[in-house]
Symmetry: C2
Subunit: 228 residues, 2 copies
């Protein structure tokens, strides 16, 4: 029976990228399909699973091939397997989601068939990819609140204002700076580095880093699928 099922691997990649007005927005890169089904529609980067490669490795390789990106965070999202999700035969897709930093996202390949879209304002995508992105958005927003993945959008050190901005953009709501500081400090997820932002300011903001001794998130049972 299983011979009639194709296995694919796709990835939802999130980054905070500047829009035309220079404001950071939650964005995902998509690839335009050049063949049927759904020729011309935008779709998640991915492709057929490879018999010799782990699923996470296939996800990372397909990502690199189409977008040039190498994410700071890669986690399995869900396996999508409804019988009618592809008009050209049964395809089960193992979907990963990934976070990349803003500076990395700026280096991503773009072209006629690869482009970034605002995550909350997508066109009609190929297959069930709108459903998949919607679920990935829900997972990102949920996980941001109970775990500590926001730092994957940032560099290794950051100010509390930068961290709060990541939360504000992803959660799409303003956060009170004093409350945010209290919550973050109470969570003990970040620790001061002892350093400050360099530059000519009178009171330069303190730099923080995540506490690496705390397990960050559920990365699945296999470390190879975790933070790279």
């Amino acid at each position: 029976m299983s011979a009639a099922i194709d296995l694919a691997v796709s990835t939802v990649i999130f980054a905070l990228r500047p829009d035309a007005a220079g404001h950071l927005v939650l964005s995902i890169p998509l690839v335009r399909r050049t063949r049927d089904p759904f020729e011309g529609r935008w779709a998640l980067p991915g492709g057929a699973a490879d018999a010799a490669e782990s699923l996470a490795d296939t996800a990372a390789r397909k990502l690199a091939e189409t977008t040039g990106l190498s994410p700071a965070y890669l986690e399995q999202l869900y396996c999508f397997g409804e019988p009618d999700r592809s008009p050209s035969g049964r395809v089960v897709s193992v979907v990963y989601w990934a976070l990349v930093r803003t500076d990395e996202a700026e280096l991503a390949a773009e072209g006629e068939n690869v482009a970034w879209f605002e995550a909350d304002e997508l066109p009609q995508l190929a297959f069930d990819h709108n459903l998949i992105v919607g679920y990935a958005l829900w997972r990102l927003r949920t996980k941001l609140e109970y775990s500590r993945i926001a730092h994957a959008f940032l560099g290794p050190t950051f100010t509390l204002a930068e961290l709060r901005q990541v939360h504000e953009i992803v959660l799409q709501k303003p956060l009170d700076p004093a409350n945010f500081r209290r919550q973050i400090e109470a969570s003990r997820a970040v620790v001061p580095t002892g350093q400050h932002v360099t530059g000519g300011r009178h009171r330069p903001p303190r730099l923080y880093r995540y506490d690496a001794s705390v397990q960050l998130v559920d990365n699945g049972p296999l470390t190879s699928a975790g933070i790279r």
Copy 2:
């Protein structure tokens, strides 16, 4: 490439069952393999994916066929796809996990090739099934604390003592009754039914139910994979 990959569906089923001394223990049913690879070893119930059926439906059907069980809770756990996990060729397994009530578990089929095991004291299983059960245990214990799935082990109504017992057995630690009551009441996850346990007691315990207006857990993007 994907033609060389077999797709399977398996399920980790948890129930609280009485051991020989009559104490409830966290248990899972396993099926003895009757052919290679791993002939004679115990394994998770499951089988090949079916091209005409959703993955969750295959999981539920295989469960019913081997154990007779129809779980109160069924959720996708993870897709396991390491290249070397089966000695007879590449197999990707979409694994579900399920909870069944104690009274249902007592009706489950048992026989020479189907038996219940204590979840924390398993023999060496076929394939990577020890790894899979270990991950399912971790997910169950994590989810019990931040969401509200314990009721799937119970009937629709229960006393706080019964709910605490579920937590104690799954988490393998005693919980202070007064603290537990405060935490559960603060979470607003359960509401009093207004009824009490029937019987001849002077002060019969109050019965509670889960508040159905609160979304219970992340059941994945597809309602068909959720609570049945």
